[in-house]
Amino acid sequence: MSVTATVITLAILIWLVRGLTRRRRDITPRWSEQRLLIAGGVIMPLVVVTAVSVLAVGVIQASERTEPEMRIEVEGHQYWWEVTYADGQETANEIHIPAGVPVEMVLTSDDVNHSFWVPALGGKLDLIPGSTNEKVIEADEPGVYEGLCAEYCGIQHANMRFLIIAQPRDEFDAWLADQTRPAAAPEGVEARRGQQVFEQQACSGCHTVRGNRVADGEQGPDLTHVASRSTLAGLAIVNTEAGRRRWVAHPQIVKDGNEMPAVPLTPDELDAVLAYLDGLR
């Protein structure tokens, strides 16, 4: 399509420049100008439009026919993605899928409009509160594909990105089985103290850690296996020990205006919480 457009554009431009610069010895045009107008202005666009429309309608109809083998629920939040699998496994901002399998994303939103877009895997589709949209994606090859929110959704729209992690089927199945487990119990004094701080402070009011009776908040991402993810905060943070520290200590500096408040922790408490999070694999 780009090639056709370029060829037509260049042809008309050349003609335009000739018209502007030609010396007028013979002003009798070879074609009558009305015929020129009909040929260029009516027939040419009609042919082009018909051709591309037939192609486009074919693609639209075909897109309706793909039968998915699997469904994943994706709910948009300002400014992160909640991902839920069939048996209730929950994660955030990283959507694992089996490679070579058509997977249906069931899209909705908790707050404002968002749009699901993985440029390398196809077009975009909106997440709208109060309704669901379905989009089938398929990654032919295993790999990591970056996705993002394509509908302006507020101050941190730019930092609402995600990853599609396409894995060979057996690897994916193993990952999903792993995600089904409740959270690992904290190991060591530091981590156990971290769990206490997590439970007593605001953290547990917004985040769920499956297996922990106190931490059952719904507003933020599920943290049951948070340490097994490679990123945090809609890809604003690389999920290393240092990255986690920066995020927990200064969420409003890292991602100005996002929903996570800066929880006042003493340096000791911060260390403890980080030790606890590190164990949530």
Partner: protein, 643 residues
């Protein structure tokens, strides 16, 4: 009705008594009272141009923020405010009003009459425009700048939980208020074009620009109610606890998008249509060649107007529309290529078959710049009309590039062409030619440097409306963003030079003759600047290019006496002009127009007070405004009843 026609010289001599009657009082009272369409038109153009400069500065700040990865020039919140105000300013406060400005200045002159059909309403249009623009920008003073995007989608903009503060209230109320100005102006253009045409100007003899304004106005009358409703329902949701768009309370967020785009799509075409009217005016003049296919061009304008109402869903392909609707709107969107193709080939054929080598004076340069730029924008338009392509390109920088090619290319270049073309008529001075040419090349080159790379960035996956992007998308990605930012400053340099040229030439430019371009329409038959009364006698025209008819030796006649009243002399100090029949413009009647009055100004001001009251949620302020509106409306009528 008895008419007396007399031969007139190509350029009419001034009529002192008429000039005294039609001229405004000096000083501030005259300024506030003026109903002179030329003065109002010039005000529209100057105000719109000022908003262009403001919106341009906002764009520069955005491009600074985006010049490199992870930049922290303005930050997230300020970027989103700039992004919202840039779009709002350019569409609502620059692009739409600038054509109201051209329409105001040029339309009455081209149809050969003395003023708009409703002069006081015309003054009201301008004052409301100025007030609404002021209201929107006063948000900066209160630190409550709209930040929900120029489209103000719900739920983000419709619910205080997601957009606190008064920012989006300023937006919603300002936009609804501005709709009054646009609608009233459109009705005025329609009545003026239908009933005020000079004798003999049947519809096939109406200049193309006037056709453009007529089609634009018809579209405004049908499209504007949707955006007014969008603004009002948005404010009702935000401020008065309605739930039109709240899904949790049974509302429907998608409904807002339909409302917005049922206005929004016709809107972009109603900007484009008068712009093409300017191009169709200018190209023939500088080619010394009547426009090829005039009837087809006019038919295309009308067809574009009609089709534009059936395309809105193509802005919503990514919301999950059924396949059948997508098919329909996709094909309908692509069909617009036909009327646009007709117009395009009419211009190119006019150039290709010109009897002289086209003169590349500044207005013509901008018109050619339009042709080149718009051609590319039209091609990418066909691409994004195709749903599968749109799913990929939608809300990416490809679309940003596309609509700047069609809006900057398709309407701003014609705007600049028109400003350079009519400047001598408006000011009586010529612009400096060399400065104008340099500014054209800066703007033209800067434009393509800025926006061409954005096509590629979009295809690489850069989404719109992001205040930053991280490192790691590759050198090409970063470099193209930097190039785009550099280009923006080249455009800015060109526009700064152009502005300087306007300001300087207005006082110091060479004196303009009545017809500096050898043009074909009536406004060039009177002195530059035009006298306050425009025409002492009403030309009897035989084609849409009357001045060229006269050059070719046809007799120049004009209606000067109707029912024994000599129209070249004022009668009792009133503004008197003629109205003609709607179709054939042959039955002539003399009417007295409303006198200048400050009541339209007062009415706009009082309406502004109501709007402030709504934004501030103060019934007291709104009540005071309503009282003022009542007083101004009653007083307005008094002035007219005196006749």
């Amino acid at each position: 009705m008895t008419l007396a026609e007399r031969p007139v010289p190509r350029v009419a001599a001034p009529f002192a008594a008429l000039q005294r009657t039609w001229d405004d009082r000096p000083g501030i009272p005259g300024m506030l009272e003026s109903v002179d369409h030329k003065r109002i038109g010039t005000r529209y153009l100057v105000t719109a141009f000022a908003f262009l400069l403001i919106g341009g500065v906002e764009a520069l700040l955005m491009r600074l923020q985006l010049a490199g990865p992870d930049a922290e020039v303005v930050g997230a919140q300020a970027y989103n405010e700039l992004m919202t105000m840039h779009g709002t300013t350019m569409i609502f406060l620059f692009n739409t009003p600038v054509f109201a400005g051209f329409g105001n200045y040029v339309l009455p002159l081209q149809v050969g009459t003395r003023d708009m059909a409703f002069p006081r309403l015309n003054a009201l249009s301008y004052w409301v425009y100025l007030s609404a623009g002021g209201l929107l920008y006063s948000s900066f003073l209160f630190g409550a700048v709209p930040d929900g995007g120029w489209f103000a989608y719900v739920p983000l903009s419709g619910n205080r939980a997601f957009s606190g503060g008064l920012g989006m209230d300023f937006w919603a109320v300002g936009i609804a208020f501005l709709g009054v100005s646009t609608t009233v102006g459109a009705i005025n253009f329609l009545v003026t074009a239908i009933r005020m045409r000079t004798p003999g100007m049947t519809w096939p003899r109406v200049p193309v620009f006037v056709w453009g304004v007529v089609v634009m106005s018809l579209m405004i009358v049908f499209a504007l109610p949707a955006i007014t409703l969008a603004g009002l329902t948005l404010e009702a949701d935000r401020n008065f606890g309605f739930n039109f768009f709240d899904a949790a309370a049974g509302g429907e967020p998608i409904l807002y998008q339909h409302l917005f785009w049922i206005w929004g799509h016709p809107e972009v075409y109603l900007l484009f249509i008068p712009a093409t009217g300017i191009v169709s005016t200018i190209i023939p003049v500088f080619c010394r060649r009547r426009l090829v296919g005039y009837p087809l061009v006019v038919a295309s304008l009308v067809a574009t107007g009609f089709i534009s109402f059936g395309l809105w869903l193509h802005h919503m392909f990514a919301t999950g529309v059924p396949a059948l609707s997508a098919d329909f709107f996709s094909v309908a969107s692509a069909l617009i290529a036909i009327p646009t193709g007709v117009q395009f080939f009419a211009w190119v054929s006019t150039i290709a078959t010109a009897p002289v080598r086209p003169r590349l004076e500044p207005p013509m340069l901008f018109a050619v710049g339009f042709l080149v730029t718009f051609l590319i924008g039209g091609m990418t338009g066909i691409m994004v009309a195709m749903v599968p392509f749109d799913w990929a390109a939608h809300d990416s920088y490809f679309v940003v590039a596309h609509f700047h090619y069609v809006l900057f290319g398709g309407t701003v270049f014609p705007t600049f062409a028109g400003l350079h073309y009519w400047f001598p008529k408006m000011t009586g001075r010529m612009l400096d030619r060399r400065t104008a040419i340099v500014s054209f090349w800066l703007i033209f080159a800067g434009f393509h440097v800025t926006f061409f790379p954005q096509h590629i960035l979009g295809l690489m996956g850069m989404p719109r409306r992001v205040y930053t992007y991280t490192e790691g998308y590759g050198t090409a990605f970063d470099v193209m963003n930097l190039i785009s930012s550099v280009g923006a400053f080249v455009i800015a340099a060109g526009i700064a030079l152009m502005t300087w040229n306007f300001l300087r030439s207005r006082r110091r430019g060479a004196e303009a003759p009545a017809d500096p371009w050898g043009a074909d329409t009536l406004e060039w038959s009177i002195s530059s600047p035009a006298p306050a009364y425009n025409y002492a006698a009403f030309a009897d025209v035989e084609s849409h290019a009357p001045l060229w008819d006269w050059d070719e030796g046809r007799t120049r006649t004009a209606v000067a006496v109707v029912d024994d009243e000599d129209l070249t002399q004022p009668l009792g100090g009133h503004h008197r002009t003629i109205v003609t029949s709607a179709l054939e413009a042959d039955e002539v009647e003399v009417v007295t127009m409303p006198s200048p009055a400050a009541w339209p100004f007062a009415l706009a001001l009082a309406s502004l007070v109501i709007c402030i009251g709504i934004v501030a949620s103060s019934w007291l302020i709104a009540g005071v405004g309503a009282l003022g509106v009542t007083v101004a409306m009653v007083a307005w009528q008094q002035g007219i009843a005196e006749r």
